[in-house]
């Protein structure tokens, strides 16, 4: 069975941008879901934050962590908002 490798653009804002030091990166991954991708990135950068408060957006829509990723998706991890 062929390995499902996909290219995902991850954009970083706020906490993640500051922690990583850049606004985004393209990740070639075998992550099946948004949860898998976050775990992969977290292993790489070891984020010091409360993971329970983080949400995820795929293609500009907030989705569940079990959402399956497709080649070309744009993913953003969201810490609690602070506007207003």
């Amino acid at each position: 069975m062929a390995v499902d490798t996909k290219s995902i653009l991850v954009e970083y804002y706020a906490f993640f941008r500051e922690a990583i030091g850049r606004k985004g990166e393209t990740i070639v991954t075998q992550a099946a879901t948004a949860r898998d991708l976050f775990a992969e990135i977290d292993r790489k950068y070891a984020f010091q934050t409360d993971h329970e408060k983080i949400r995820v957006a795929v293609n500009d829509c907030i989705v569940t962590w079990e959402t399956r990723l497709a080649d070309g998706d744009v993913v953003v991890f969201l810490t609690p908002f602070g506007g207003g």
Binding site: A14, E18, D60, G82, G83, G84
Partner: protein
Amino acid sequence: MEADRARFELTAGPIDAAHLTGALADSAAGACVTFEGRVRDHNDGRVVSSLEYEAYERMALREGAAVMVAALEQFPIISAVCVHRTGHLSIGDTAVWIGVLSAHRDEAFAACRYIIDEVKSRVPIWKSEHFAPEIVPRPETV
């Protein structure tokens, strides 16, 4: 068209509240309620010197527009505008401005409150505060 009656914008430049208020005009409006959120000089007991607002712009514009349309649907108002700053802000700068027109005051107040609460919870904007260095008293000299 709903987009004309309910508008959400992001701006990297200063918010001109007087200009925005002046632009709200409708002969059927008996009430104009505005809210202006400003940068204050303290938070959690610390002195704030300035701050930055950062937006995930594509989603912020879409969610912000959805909040405004929802306000139009839930309250009998004539129109509503919300403008939110991004970038570097100093103490006293306007961070967010909301204006609502309606025939009567109750719905304008309620819609304005609804919009700021929803913007804070739904729109992906983050605040990063710059705190002033703590002032350590100089040791007494003899």
